[in-house]
Amino acid sequence: MCLAVPMRVIEIKDNEAVVELGGLKQKINLGLLEKIDVGDYVIVHAGFAIQKLDEEEAEKTLSFLREMAEKL
Protein backbone atom coordinates (compact mmCIF):
# COMPACT_ATOMS: atom_id res chain seq x y z
CA MET A 1 0.00 0.00 0.00
CA CYS A 2 2.38 2.60 -1.21
CA LEU A 3 -0.34 4.96 -2.35
CA ALA A 4 0.60 8.52 -1.40
CA VAL A 5 0.40 11.90 -3.16
CA PRO A 6 2.10 15.29 -2.89
CA MET A 7 -0.31 17.92 -1.56
CA ARG A 8 0.15 21.58 -0.65
CA VAL A 9 -0.40 22.73 2.95
CA ILE A 10 -2.90 25.59 3.02
CA GLU A 11 -3.77 25.73 6.72
CA ILE A 12 -2.25 24.43 9.97
CA LYS A 13 -3.90 24.10 13.37
CA ASP A 14 -2.04 22.26 16.17
CA ASN A 15 -1.08 18.87 14.81
CA GLU A 16 -3.47 18.95 11.86
CA ALA A 17 -3.29 20.56 8.45
CA VAL A 18 -5.60 21.20 5.54
CA VAL A 19 -3.90 20.16 2.31
CA GLU A 20 -4.92 20.67 -1.27
CA LEU A 21 -4.35 18.95 -4.62
CA GLY A 22 -6.08 19.91 -7.84
CA GLY A 23 -8.92 21.64 -6.01
CA LEU A 24 -9.46 18.75 -3.61
CA LYS A 25 -9.00 19.61 0.08
CA GLN A 26 -8.31 17.19 2.90
CA LYS A 27 -7.57 17.31 6.61
CA ILE A 28 -4.48 15.39 7.64
CA ASN A 29 -2.35 14.68 10.69
CA LEU A 30 1.19 16.12 10.96
CA GLY A 31 2.27 13.89 13.85
CA LEU A 32 4.94 12.08 11.81
CA LEU A 33 6.85 15.24 10.87
CA GLU A 34 8.66 18.09 12.59
CA LYS A 35 8.45 21.62 11.24
CA ILE A 36 5.88 22.12 8.49
CA ASP A 37 4.77 25.54 7.20
CA VAL A 38 1.82 26.72 5.15
CA GLY A 39 2.89 26.55 1.52
CA ASP A 40 5.02 23.40 1.99
CA TYR A 41 4.24 20.31 -0.07
CA VAL A 42 3.88 17.07 1.87
CA ILE A 43 3.52 13.43 0.82
CA VAL A 44 0.11 12.28 2.10
CA HIS A 45 -0.70 8.64 2.94
CA ALA A 46 -3.81 7.37 4.77
CA GLY A 47 -4.58 10.71 6.40
CA PHE A 48 -1.03 11.50 7.50
CA ALA A 49 1.85 13.53 6.05
CA ILE A 50 4.74 11.06 5.84
CA GLN A 51 7.40 13.42 4.47
CA LYS A 52 7.93 17.02 3.44
CA LEU A 53 8.53 17.12 -0.31
CA ASP A 54 12.05 18.42 -0.96
CA GLU A 55 11.40 21.04 -3.66
CA GLU A 56 15.12 21.53 -4.32
CA GLU A 57 15.59 17.81 -5.00
CA ALA A 58 12.45 17.77 -7.13
CA GLU A 59 13.94 20.50 -9.34
CA LYS A 60 17.37 18.79 -9.39
CA THR A 61 15.84 15.56 -10.73
CA LEU A 62 14.08 17.42 -13.54
CA SER A 63 17.02 19.67 -14.52
CA PHE A 64 19.34 16.65 -14.58
CA LEU A 65 16.99 14.87 -16.97
CA ARG A 66 16.44 17.98 -19.10
CA GLU A 67 20.21 18.42 -19.48
CA MET A 68 20.49 14.76 -20.49
CA ALA A 69 17.82 15.36 -23.14
CA GLU A 70 19.70 18.36 -24.55
CA LYS A 71 22.92 16.41 -24.94
CA LEU A 72 21.20 13.59 -26.84
Binding site: N29, Q51, L65
Partner: protein
Protein backbone atom coordinates in the same frame (compact mmCIF):
# COMPACT_ATOMS: atom_id res chain seq x y z
CA UNK B 1 -0.91 19.14 -10.55
CA UNK B 2 2.40 20.31 -9.15
CA UNK B 3 5.07 17.67 -8.51
CA UNK B 4 3.01 15.13 -10.42
CA UNK B 5 2.60 16.42 -13.99
CA UNK B 6 6.31 17.15 -14.46
CA UNK B 7 7.05 13.49 -13.77
CA UNK B 8 4.75 12.45 -16.60
CA UNK B 9 6.67 14.43 -19.26
CA UNK B 10 6.47 12.29 -22.41
CA UNK B 11 9.59 13.94 -23.93
CA UNK B 12 11.78 13.03 -20.96
CA UNK B 13 10.31 9.53 -20.79
CA UNK B 14 11.07 9.00 -24.50
CA UNK B 15 14.60 10.33 -23.99
CA UNK B 16 15.27 7.81 -21.23
CA UNK B 17 13.77 4.99 -23.30
CA UNK B 18 16.20 5.90 -26.11
CA UNK B 19 19.11 5.77 -23.67
CA UNK B 20 17.89 2.42 -22.33
CA UNK B 21 17.77 1.14 -25.92
CA UNK B 22 21.39 2.29 -26.50
CA UNK B 23 22.54 0.49 -23.36
CA UNK B 24 20.62 -2.63 -24.32
CA UNK B 25 22.36 -2.80 -27.68
CA UNK B 26 25.69 -3.18 -25.91
CA UNK B 27 24.24 -5.70 -23.46
CA UNK B 28 21.69 -7.90 -25.20
CA UNK B 29 21.49 -10.39 -22.34
CA UNK B 30 18.10 -10.83 -20.67
CA UNK B 31 17.78 -8.75 -17.52
CA UNK B 32 15.24 -9.43 -14.79
CA UNK B 33 14.19 -6.47 -12.69
CA UNK B 34 11.78 -6.93 -9.82
CA UNK B 35 9.43 -4.21 -8.69
CA UNK B 36 8.75 -5.13 -5.09
CA UNK B 37 5.76 -2.87 -4.51
CA UNK B 38 2.22 -3.54 -5.74
CA UNK B 39 1.69 0.16 -6.35
CA UNK B 40 4.66 0.05 -8.74
CA UNK B 41 3.14 -2.98 -10.50
CA UNK B 42 -0.07 -1.04 -11.09
CA UNK B 43 1.77 2.15 -12.13
CA UNK B 44 3.85 0.18 -14.63
CA UNK B 45 0.80 -1.45 -16.16
CA UNK B 46 -1.24 1.76 -16.23
CA UNK B 47 1.51 3.70 -18.01
CA UNK B 48 2.08 0.99 -20.64
CA UNK B 49 5.81 0.95 -19.85
CA UNK B 50 6.08 -2.81 -20.25
CA UNK B 51 5.45 -2.51 -23.98
CA UNK B 52 7.92 0.34 -24.46
CA UNK B 53 10.94 -1.32 -22.87
CA UNK B 54 13.35 -3.42 -24.96
CA UNK B 55 12.29 -7.07 -25.08
CA UNK B 56 15.33 -8.28 -23.12
CA UNK B 57 14.31 -6.28 -20.04
CA UNK B 58 11.83 -8.33 -18.08
CA UNK B 59 9.87 -6.87 -15.19
CA UNK B 60 8.87 -9.24 -12.39
CA UNK B 61 6.19 -8.41 -9.83
CA UNK B 62 7.09 -9.02 -6.21
CA UNK B 63 5.20 -9.54 -2.96
CA UNK B 64 4.69 -5.90 -2.02
CA UNK B 65 0.94 -6.02 -1.89
CA UNK B 66 -0.01 -6.13 1.80
CA UNK B 67 -3.52 -7.47 1.20
CA UNK B 68 -2.18 -10.19 -1.13
CA UNK B 69 0.36 -11.49 1.40
CA UNK B 70 -2.07 -11.56 4.32
CA UNK B 71 -2.74 -15.27 5.01
CA UNK B 72 -6.21 -16.78 5.19
CA UNK B 73 -5.86 -17.20 8.95
CA UNK B 74 -5.81 -13.42 9.45
CA UNK B 75 -8.97 -12.99 7.37
CA UNK B 76 -10.67 -15.84 9.22
CA UNK B 77 -9.87 -14.20 12.56
CA UNK B 78 -11.14 -10.81 11.34
CA UNK B 79 -14.36 -12.57 10.30
CA UNK B 80 -14.59 -14.21 13.73
CA UNK B 81 -14.23 -10.76 15.36
CA UNK B 82 -16.97 -9.31 13.21
CA UNK B 83 -19.38 -12.04 14.29
CA UNK B 84 -19.27 -10.69 17.86
CA UNK B 85 -22.20 -8.33 18.49
CA UNK B 86 -20.06 -5.87 20.42
CA UNK B 87 -17.50 -5.36 17.63
CA UNK B 88 -17.27 -2.78 14.85
CA UNK B 89 -14.57 -3.71 12.33
CA UNK B 90 -12.84 -0.77 10.62
CA UNK B 91 -10.60 -1.45 7.66
CA UNK B 92 -8.97 -0.11 4.51
CA UNK B 93 -11.23 -0.82 1.55
CA UNK B 94 -9.13 -3.50 -0.13
CA UNK B 95 -9.74 -6.08 2.57
CA UNK B 96 -13.50 -6.20 2.07
CA UNK B 97 -13.68 -8.60 -0.87
CA UNK B 98 -10.70 -10.81 0.02
CA UNK B 99 -11.88 -14.41 0.45
CA UNK B 100 -10.96 -16.19 3.67
CA UNK B 101 -11.39 -19.95 4.21
CA UNK B 102 -15.18 -19.86 3.96
CA UNK B 103 -16.38 -16.26 3.93
CA UNK B 104 -15.25 -12.67 3.39
CA UNK B 105 -15.84 -9.35 5.15
CA UNK B 106 -18.17 -8.38 2.31
CA UNK B 107 -20.27 -11.51 2.86
CA UNK B 108 -20.30 -10.89 6.63
CA UNK B 109 -21.46 -7.32 6.04
CA UNK B 110 -24.33 -8.79 4.04
CA UNK B 111 -25.16 -10.98 7.04
CA UNK B 112 -25.35 -7.94 9.31
CA UNK B 113 -21.74 -7.57 10.44
CA UNK B 114 -20.79 -3.98 11.34
CA UNK B 115 -17.86 -3.41 9.00
CA UNK B 116 -16.79 0.09 7.98
CA UNK B 117 -14.27 1.13 5.37
CA UNK B 118 -12.03 3.99 6.49
CA UNK B 119 -9.38 6.01 4.68
CA UNK B 120 -7.25 6.54 7.76
CA UNK B 121 -6.75 4.73 11.08
CA UNK B 122 -7.61 8.08 12.70
CA UNK B 123 -11.16 7.67 11.37
CA UNK B 124 -11.35 4.37 13.28
CA UNK B 125 -10.33 6.18 16.47
CA UNK B 126 -13.10 8.75 15.90
CA UNK B 127 -15.63 5.93 15.47
CA UNK B 128 -14.46 4.46 18.80
CA UNK B 129 -15.16 7.82 20.45
CA UNK B 130 -18.63 7.95 18.87
CA UNK B 131 -19.57 4.40 19.97
CA UNK B 132 -18.36 3.98 23.57
CA UNK B 133 -20.43 0.83 24.05
CA UNK B 134 -18.74 -1.05 21.21
CA UNK B 135 -15.27 -2.50 20.63
CA UNK B 136 -13.74 -0.92 17.55
CA UNK B 137 -11.09 -3.10 15.93
CA UNK B 138 -8.93 -1.69 13.14
CA UNK B 139 -7.43 -4.21 10.70
CA UNK B 140 -3.78 -3.15 10.64
CA UNK B 141 -2.68 -4.33 7.20
CA UNK B 142 0.21 -2.61 5.47
CA UNK B 143 3.96 -2.21 5.31
CA UNK B 144 6.30 0.40 6.73
CA UNK B 145 4.43 3.23 4.99
CA UNK B 146 1.32 2.61 7.06
CA UNK B 147 2.73 1.26 10.34
CA UNK B 148 3.81 4.71 11.64
CA UNK B 149 0.26 6.03 11.17
CA UNK B 150 -0.95 3.22 13.40
CA UNK B 151 1.78 3.86 15.95
CA UNK B 152 0.84 7.55 16.13
CA UNK B 153 -2.84 6.70 16.49
CA UNK B 154 -2.29 4.08 19.22
CA UNK B 155 -0.23 6.65 21.14
CA UNK B 156 -3.01 9.18 20.72
CA UNK B 157 -5.56 6.63 21.97
CA UNK B 158 -3.42 6.03 25.06
CA UNK B 159 -3.06 9.77 25.74
CA UNK B 160 -6.82 10.27 25.43
CA UNK B 161 -7.50 7.12 27.48
CA UNK B 162 -9.77 5.63 24.80
CA UNK B 163 -10.58 2.16 26.05
CA UNK B 164 -12.65 0.67 23.23
CA UNK B 165 -10.17 0.97 20.35
CA UNK B 166 -7.77 -1.79 19.33
CA UNK B 167 -5.71 -2.90 16.37
CA UNK B 168 -5.46 -6.39 14.89
CA UNK B 169 -1.91 -6.13 13.64
CA UNK B 170 -1.05 -7.78 10.34
CA UNK B 171 1.75 -5.37 9.49
CA UNK B 172 4.74 -6.73 7.62
CA UNK B 173 8.22 -5.49 6.69
CA UNK B 174 9.65 -5.30 3.18
CA UNK B 175 13.44 -5.88 3.51
CA UNK B 176 13.06 -9.33 5.18
CA UNK B 177 10.73 -10.38 2.35
CA UNK B 178 13.29 -9.28 -0.24
CA UNK B 179 15.89 -11.32 1.62
CA UNK B 180 13.60 -14.37 1.61
CA UNK B 181 13.17 -14.06 -2.16
CA UNK B 182 16.85 -13.75 -3.00
CA UNK B 183 17.76 -16.35 -0.40
CA UNK B 184 15.30 -18.87 -1.88
CA UNK B 185 17.12 -18.62 -5.22
CA UNK B 186 13.98 -19.58 -7.13
CA UNK B 187 14.45 -16.66 -9.47
CA UNK B 188 17.31 -14.84 -11.03
CA UNK B 189 16.99 -11.15 -10.14
CA UNK B 190 19.39 -8.63 -11.69
CA UNK B 191 18.03 -5.54 -9.97
CA UNK B 192 15.37 -4.32 -7.56
CA UNK B 193 13.06 -1.37 -8.04
CA UNK B 194 12.49 -0.51 -4.38
CA UNK B 195 9.21 0.92 -3.01
CA UNK B 196 9.27 4.72 -2.84
CA UNK B 197 6.88 5.28 0.04
CA UNK B 198 8.04 2.41 2.27
CA UNK B 199 11.50 3.94 1.73
CA UNK B 200 10.22 7.42 2.58
CA UNK B 201 9.86 5.95 6.07
CA UNK B 202 12.81 3.53 6.28
CA UNK B 203 15.32 5.30 3.96
CA UNK B 204 17.75 3.61 1.60
CA UNK B 205 20.04 1.97 4.16
CA UNK B 206 17.92 -1.14 4.96
CA UNK B 207 18.44 -2.40 1.39
CA UNK B 208 22.26 -2.22 1.78
CA UNK B 209 22.59 -5.95 2.54
CA UNK B 210 20.97 -6.84 -0.81
CA UNK B 211 23.69 -4.97 -2.69
CA UNK B 212 26.56 -6.01 -0.39
CA UNK B 213 25.78 -9.67 0.29
CA UNK B 214 23.69 -10.66 -2.71
CA UNK B 215 25.40 -8.33 -5.21
CA UNK B 216 22.08 -7.05 -6.58
CA UNK B 217 21.73 -3.30 -7.33
CA UNK B 218 18.70 -1.49 -5.87
CA UNK B 219 17.12 1.80 -6.91
CA UNK B 220 14.43 3.43 -4.79
CA UNK B 221 11.81 4.74 -7.22
CA UNK B 222 8.90 7.17 -7.19
CA UNK B 223 5.57 6.28 -8.78
CA UNK B 224 5.10 8.55 -11.74
CA UNK B 225 6.10 7.12 -15.16
CA UNK B 226 9.23 9.28 -15.39
CA UNK B 227 10.34 8.10 -11.92
CA UNK B 228 9.97 4.45 -12.86
CA UNK B 229 11.77 4.80 -16.20
CA UNK B 230 14.60 6.75 -14.57
CA UNK B 231 14.94 4.04 -11.91
CA UNK B 232 15.08 1.34 -14.60
CA UNK B 233 17.71 3.38 -16.46
CA UNK B 234 19.75 3.78 -13.24
CA UNK B 235 19.64 0.00 -12.66
CA UNK B 236 20.61 -0.92 -16.21
CA UNK B 237 23.40 1.63 -16.22
CA UNK B 238 24.87 0.03 -13.07
CA UNK B 239 24.61 -3.45 -14.55
CA UNK B 240 26.02 -2.60 -18.00
CA UNK B 241 28.86 -0.52 -16.55
CA UNK B 242 29.57 -3.36 -14.11
CA UNK B 243 29.53 -0.90 -11.21
CA UNK B 244 29.83 -2.48 -7.76
CA UNK B 245 26.17 -3.13 -6.79
CA UNK B 246 24.76 -0.36 -4.63
CA UNK B 247 21.55 1.20 -3.36
CA UNK B 248 20.67 4.45 -5.12
CA UNK B 249 17.73 6.76 -4.60
CA UNK B 250 15.84 8.02 -7.66
CA UNK B 251 12.95 9.46 -5.59
CA UNK B 252 15.11 12.04 -3.83
CA UNK B 253 12.26 14.53 -3.45
CA UNK B 254 10.68 12.16 -0.91
CA UNK B 255 13.30 9.62 0.19
CA UNK B 256 16.30 10.50 2.37
CA UNK B 257 19.09 8.04 3.21
CA UNK B 258 17.91 8.05 6.83
CA UNK B 259 14.18 7.95 5.98
CA UNK B 260 11.79 9.66 8.42
CA UNK B 261 13.40 9.43 11.89
CA UNK B 262 10.31 10.59 13.79
CA UNK B 263 8.13 7.96 12.10
CA UNK B 264 10.75 5.28 12.77
CA UNK B 265 10.94 6.26 16.46
CA UNK B 266 7.16 6.03 16.78
CA UNK B 267 7.16 2.60 15.16
CA UNK B 268 9.92 1.45 17.53
CA UNK B 269 8.03 2.79 20.53
CA UNK B 270 4.72 1.06 19.78
CA UNK B 271 5.71 -2.09 17.86
CA UNK B 272 8.19 -4.90 18.23
CA UNK B 273 9.38 -7.21 15.47
CA UNK B 274 8.13 -10.79 15.26
CA UNK B 275 8.17 -13.67 12.81
CA UNK B 276 5.28 -13.51 10.34
CA UNK B 277 3.48 -15.74 7.86
CA UNK B 278 3.26 -14.42 4.30
CA UNK B 279 0.70 -15.92 1.93
CA UNK B 280 2.52 -17.82 -0.78
CA UNK B 281 5.94 -17.50 0.86
CA UNK B 282 5.48 -19.03 4.28
CA UNK B 283 7.03 -17.91 7.56
CA UNK B 284 9.64 -15.18 7.24
CA UNK B 285 11.65 -14.51 10.42
CA UNK B 286 11.44 -11.01 11.91
CA UNK B 287 9.17 -9.77 9.16
CA UNK B 288 6.09 -8.68 11.09
CA UNK B 289 5.06 -6.14 13.71
CA UNK B 290 3.42 -6.88 17.06
CA UNK B 291 2.08 -4.27 19.46
CA UNK B 292 4.38 -3.94 22.50
CA UNK B 293 3.32 -5.01 25.97
CA UNK B 294 2.92 -1.49 27.34
CA UNK B 295 0.35 -0.79 24.61
CA UNK B 296 -1.32 -4.20 24.90
CA UNK B 297 -4.67 -2.65 25.83
CA UNK B 298 -4.80 -1.63 22.16
CA UNK B 299 -3.97 -5.10 20.86
CA UNK B 300 -7.13 -6.86 19.67
CA UNK B 301 -5.45 -10.27 19.91
CA UNK B 302 -4.80 -9.70 23.63
CA UNK B 303 -8.17 -8.20 24.54
CA UNK B 304 -10.85 -9.69 22.35
CA UNK B 305 -11.59 -13.40 22.46
CA UNK B 306 -12.76 -15.33 19.46
CA UNK B 307 -12.65 -18.85 18.08
CA UNK B 308 -11.28 -19.13 14.61
CA UNK B 309 -12.18 -21.85 12.09
CA UNK B 310 -9.47 -24.13 10.69
CA UNK B 311 -7.73 -22.55 7.73
CA UNK B 312 -8.50 -23.93 4.29
CA UNK B 313 -6.62 -22.87 1.15
CA UNK B 314 -8.15 -22.82 -2.32
CA UNK B 315 -6.25 -25.48 -4.24
CA UNK B 316 -6.51 -23.88 -7.68
CA UNK B 317 -5.17 -20.48 -6.66
CA UNK B 318 -1.48 -19.89 -7.52
CA UNK B 319 -1.26 -16.53 -5.70
CA UNK B 320 1.81 -17.91 -3.89
CA UNK B 321 4.10 -18.49 -6.90
CA UNK B 322 2.80 -15.23 -8.42
CA UNK B 323 3.83 -13.30 -5.30
CA UNK B 324 7.27 -14.89 -5.49
CA UNK B 325 7.59 -13.81 -9.12
CA UNK B 326 8.03 -17.36 -10.48
CA UNK B 327 4.66 -17.52 -12.25
CA UNK B 328 2.37 -14.95 -13.81
CA UNK B 329 -1.45 -14.81 -13.75
CA UNK B 330 -1.41 -16.15 -17.32
CA UNK B 331 -0.12 -19.44 -15.88
CA UNK B 332 -3.18 -19.75 -13.62
CA UNK B 333 -6.02 -22.08 -14.63
CA UNK B 334 -8.51 -19.88 -12.82
CA UNK B 335 -7.43 -16.52 -14.33
CA UNK B 336 -10.51 -15.11 -16.09
CA UNK B 337 -12.05 -18.58 -15.80
CA UNK B 338 -13.87 -18.23 -12.50
CA UNK B 339 -11.50 -15.70 -10.93
CA UNK B 340 -12.13 -12.03 -11.64
CA UNK B 341 -12.25 -8.79 -9.62
CA UNK B 342 -16.03 -9.22 -9.10
CA UNK B 343 -15.60 -12.81 -8.04
CA UNK B 344 -12.06 -13.14 -6.68
CA UNK B 345 -10.80 -16.53 -5.62
CA UNK B 346 -7.47 -15.23 -4.33
CA UNK B 347 -6.20 -12.02 -2.78
CA UNK B 348 -4.02 -11.13 -5.79
CA UNK B 349 -7.16 -10.58 -7.86
CA UNK B 350 -9.05 -8.45 -5.41
CA UNK B 351 -6.42 -6.03 -4.19
CA UNK B 352 -6.00 -2.76 -6.07
CA UNK B 353 -2.28 -3.57 -6.06
CA UNK B 354 -2.57 -7.25 -6.84
CA UNK B 355 -0.70 -8.66 -9.83
CA UNK B 356 -3.74 -10.61 -11.06
CA UNK B 357 -5.93 -7.51 -10.83
CA UNK B 358 -3.33 -5.59 -12.87
CA UNK B 359 -3.17 -8.25 -15.58
CA UNK B 360 -6.98 -8.46 -15.65
CA UNK B 361 -7.48 -4.73 -15.99
CA UNK B 362 -4.65 -3.85 -18.33
CA UNK B 363 -3.87 -7.11 -20.18
CA UNK B 364 -0.34 -8.39 -20.59
Amino acid sequence: MRYIDEYRDPGLIQMLMTKIDHLQQHYPKELFLMEVCGTHTMAIFRSGLRNLLPKNIRLLSGPGCPVCVTPNHYLDKAIAYTRRDDVIITTFGDMIKVPGSSSSLEKEKGRGGDIRVVYSVMDALKIAQEYPGKNIIFLGIGFETTAPTLAATIKMAKEKNIQNFSVFSGHKLIPPAMQALVGAKELHIDGFICPGHVSTIIGGRPYGFIAREYKIPCVVAGFEPLDIVQAIFMLIQQIVNQDPPSVRIQYTRSVKEEGNPKALDLMEEVFEIKDSEWRGIGDIPESGLKIRGNFSSFDAEVNIEVEVEDTKENKGCICGPILRGIKTPLDCKLFKKGCSPENPIGACMVSSEGTCAAYFKYGD
